[in-house]
């Protein structure tokens, strides 16, 4: 074989390998997690909700995108009113037994019928910790997405009109769609 023929063969092999590598890089790049944090807010107690929003604001301050998925008791954190109209007896009971706004959230421990939560709020205020309502609004203002789970809303009889106006609707696939490309995902 002549030298020039060998050279052509080498170049062709190299080009092929290069193309394979390029394809592999594209594939890998598609799987790199983005600068995102995804949080499932399942709990509705003041202390747990506080933890969720502190992590969210911290992530936003670090330049991360934040999506928060509110489901079951977590919906307490994004409720702003209570309606009984158009609900069946069990839904009404559920409505009356869950807080109609963040003001009514209790503590996960030592709640003592709300006295614990009031004491915690007072202690936070004395120590200059942001109150939960301001923290939630700040999280939203900083660009977090709030998504509510339609299924748990329906089960618990919570109308969309009882939630904040700036909520998006989404289910498990919406959460997973975000979570698989996030660097951090939490269940609170």
């Amino acid at each position: 074989m002549a030298v020039s023929e060998l050279a052509v063969q080498d170049t062709t092999t190299l080009e092929m390998r290069l193309q394979q590598l390029e394809e592999r890089v594209v594939e890998l790049e598609e799987n790199i997690p983005e600068d995102k944090v995804t949080i499932v807010m399942f709990s509705g107690e003041l202390d747990r909700v506080l933890a969720g929003f502190i992590i969210a604001t911290g992530a936003l301050a670090m330049g991360y995108e934040v999506s928060m998925f509110f489901t079951f008791w977590g919906l307490n954190a994004v409720r702003d009113n209570r309606t009984l109209e158009g609900k069946n007896i069990m839904e009404r009971m559920m409505s009356l037994m869950t807080p109609g706004s963040t003001e009514g959230m209790g503590l996960s421990n030592m709640n003592f019928f709300g006295a614990g939560a009031r004491m915690m709020r007072l202690m936070m205020k004395q120590k200059n910790v942001e109150n939960i309502e301001d923290l939630i609004n700040m999280t939203k203002d900083m660009g977090a997405r709030f998504v509510s789970c339609g299924m748990s809303q329906m089960v618990m009889g919570i109308n969309t009109s009882e939630l904040r106006d700036d909520m998006e609707d989404g289910g498990v696939a919406a959460y997973l769609g975000d979570a698989v490309s996030s660097k951090v995902t939490l269940f609170i």
């Binding site: 600068d35 502190i54 604001t57 911290g58 301050a61 670090m62 330049g63 991360y64 200059n128 910790v129």
Partner: protein, 86 residues
Amino acid sequence: MSEQTYEISTTLDVTGLMCPMPLVKARKAIMDLEVGQVIEVLATDKGSIKDFQGWAKVAKNVELLAQNEKEGGDTTIYAHVVKRTK
């Protein structure tokens, strides 16, 4: 943290504020800076030391130049010197 001289463009006072507010306010303030400018953040929250280190590690647009402790009466003030890099 690298040893280098820097010129502080602006100072942000977050003394008395607790986690996550020093970070949140610092982030807001740094976005108002030009790239390359330096901000000094004065905090009393002890956790802010690690918080600012974490911020600089994770965020792509900031560099932590120095962290100094200053005695401010009966409380210690932590001065974080942060540069906007992007």
